[in-house]
């Protein structure tokens, strides 16, 4: 997934010399190829994220196409106001790459973990949010981010959980993809980022009537598609490695509550920080997000859920 990210960025930068990669002193090794192939388009802005975003806004005003890279705990969370005021207010073509979203830095604690970033950015006008689930979505979303010519938050989370698509995606990227067909009167699993793999696995193993959709575009959300799916579903479950507040689950709940109310279970991080550290899998378990715990939550939810 990170390889697809790096290669796509190099390709975009070689095709358009106005593409600039600006990093807040992050991306060791990740950008080796970029620095080798496009050294004039690489700017390390130092450990100074607020200035980095302002500089990106100034460069965008001068006709450049900045891709601003940082860890998601810093870009966008540390610089939300700069994104709002310097970039989004003027609809400038700046792409913010937030890497390591969710619990990727499981041993490092709250400083580097990022489970609030979608909630922090989703209400900023003009800003779109892309959250790819595998390398194919990464490539398609990167191209979409470049072509949009508008502010984008590009969220990259746990990157080694394998593919959810079997092949590259036709251009242009769609906001939502069906990964697994739904049985009649079945339930709908919506998922984004690293948790799409979890949704697929649980549907295969325990919830055979569930359809699974990957949602790489959290904003704009394809509301029509979501409503259409939910109208055929008895209940929905939303999976994301993000707080249950303000993320994809919240976005889908906002849409369905108006157009097609149905019981929705939001699978994500409850309203709390991590207390302990450990492996990525340990941290998922600590937050009740390992496969077994999620399966239990869904089963309990479905027992109580009433169709709309």
């Amino acid at each position: 997934m990170r390889d697809a990210f790096s290669k796509t960025l190099v390709r975009l930068a070689k095709a358009d010399r106005n593409v600039l990669l600006i990093t807040g002193d992050h991306g060791y090794a990740l950008f080796d190829e970029f620095r080798r192939e496009c050294p004039q388009q690489y700017i390390n802005a130092g450990i100074a994220e607020q200035n980095m975003v302002g500089v990106a806004a100034g460069l965008a005003r001068q006709g450049f196409r900045p891709f601003v890279y940082g860890l998601s705990a810093f870009v966008p969370v540390r610089v939300v106001e700069q994104i709002k005021l310097d970039v989004a207010h003027d609809n400038l073509p700046v792409v913010f790459i937030g890497d390591g979203a969710g619990f990727v830095y499981s041993h490092l604690g709250t400083s580097h973990q990022s489970t609030e970033d979608i909630a922090c950015t989703r209400s900023i006008p003009n800003l779109s949010i892309l959250s790819p689930s595998d390398r194919f979505e990464v490539e398609a979303c990167m191209e979409a981010a470049y072509e949009a010519g508008a502010p984008i938050y590009f969220r990259m989370g746990k990157s080694d959980r394998g593919d959810v698509h079997s092949a590259g995606l036709p251009h242009p990227v769609r906001a939502i993809y069906e990964l697994r067909p739904q049985a009649n009167d079945g339930i709908a699993f919506f998922a984004t980022g690293s948790f799409t793999k979890s949704a697929l696995a649980l549907a295969e193993s325990h919830f055979s009537d569930a359809g699974v959709w990957s949602v790489p575009s959290i904003k704009p959300l394809d509301a029509d598609a979501i409503v259409s799916i939910c109208k055929k579903s008895t209940a929905a479950v939303v999976f994301e490695e993000h707080s249950i507040m303000g993320g994809l689950g919240a976005a889908i709940s906002e849409v369905t509550s108006q157009h097609c109310p149905l019981p929705i279970l939001r699978i994500g991080i409850e309203d709390r920080f991590s207390h302990y550290c450990g492996t990525y899998d340990y941290l998922l378990k600590e937050h009740g997000l390992d496969q077994e715990a999620i399966r239990g939550k869904i089963s309990t939810f479905l027992e109580k859920a009433k169709p709309c």
């Binding site: 200035n51 980095m52 500089v55």
Partner: protein, 274 residues
């Protein structure tokens, strides 16, 4: 060469416009607009290039008002340029009007949205870097307040500008000695601003920010210096400068004009024309 030879940018006239707008809009921030009048007058009259008098010309120089609270001083200059009209001056703050109480980049002639402090500085640094990368000779001037120097991104941007060798960038600090709640030396003492910018790799000078000749000379001298170093002018100013009863009194950051103070201010500004 004077880019706008037909324009006078008379500081007293600019201050009258500020008073007119503040009175029409029943608004505040007079003191911090008054302190930058000569700075903006000299920039617009003698240094900023706007090909075709177009505020959005792609080849223009950039004036970034990072201390967005002083925006009425910029409106006053834009009025002289014909970029805003009498209707906008007299209708300042009327419902549905475009000119806000802080700098807004959607207004042609204003480069950044500021007021939340420490933003315009970095955007201006990015514009200067863009000009350098493009090989353009555009110059970027950033006007910041001394209180604004409390903000961390200013110093992030200063490090960056110096490291990137942005010799096309000039920062002008309006050192009026006040920030929102009182005197800067009592709230967050800045000590020598010039030494701070020098320590960050800038060529810097300190001058009287109301002396138009000194401002012009400092700008010319700095541009003639090391082409790889960003420049900084520390302009010592007086908040509320130009109307005696407003000078060096922070109350004019917050106070609205009434018919009496309006007349007194306009009278003082008329008097000093003669």
């Amino acid at each position: 060469m004077a880019p706008q030879p037909e324009k006078v940018f008379n500081p007293r006239q600019l201050r009258r416009t500020i008073i007119e707008m503040a009175y029409a809009g029943n608004t505040v921030h007079i003191g911090c607009a008054f302190s930058i009048v000569e700075i903006l007058a000299v920039l617009y009259r003698q240094h900023l290039h706007f090909p075709g008098n177009e505020p959005k010309s792609p080849e223009r120089d950039f004036l970034v008002l990072s201390k967005g609270h002083g925006v009425m001083a910029q409106y006053a200059c834009m009025r002289e340029l014909g970029w805003i009209g009498e209707k906008e001056v007299r209708g300042y703050f009327s419902d549905g009007s475009n000119l806000k109480g802080l700098s807004d980049s959607r207004v042609p002639g204003l480069e950044v949205t500021s007021g939340s402090l420490g933003h315009g500085f970095s955007v201006g640094v990015g514009m200067a870097m863009g000009a350098k990368l493009k090989g353009s000779d555009q110059k970027t001037y950033i006007v910041v307040g001394d209180g604004e120097l409390n903000e961390g991104p200013i110093w992030e941007g200063a490090l960056f500008a110096s490291h990137q060798g942005l010799g096309n960038l000039m920062v002008i600090v309006d050192e009026n000695g006040f920030q929102a709640m009182g005197r800067t030396r009592e709230i967050m003492n800045l000590s020598s601003i010039q030494k701070k910018f020098e320590a960050f790799g800038f060529d810097a000078v300190t001058i009287d920010g109301h002396d138009e000749h000194a401002l012009d000379e400092a700008i010319n001298t700095l541009w003639a210096g090391d082409p790889k170093k960003p420049k900084a002018i520390v302009a010592k100013t007086v908040k509320g400068k130009g109307v005696a009863f407003m000078e060096d009194d922070n109350i004019w950051h917050y106070t609205r004009l009434n018919p009496q103070t309006y007349e007194r201010a306009m009278f003082a500004l008329r008097e000093s024309d003669e």
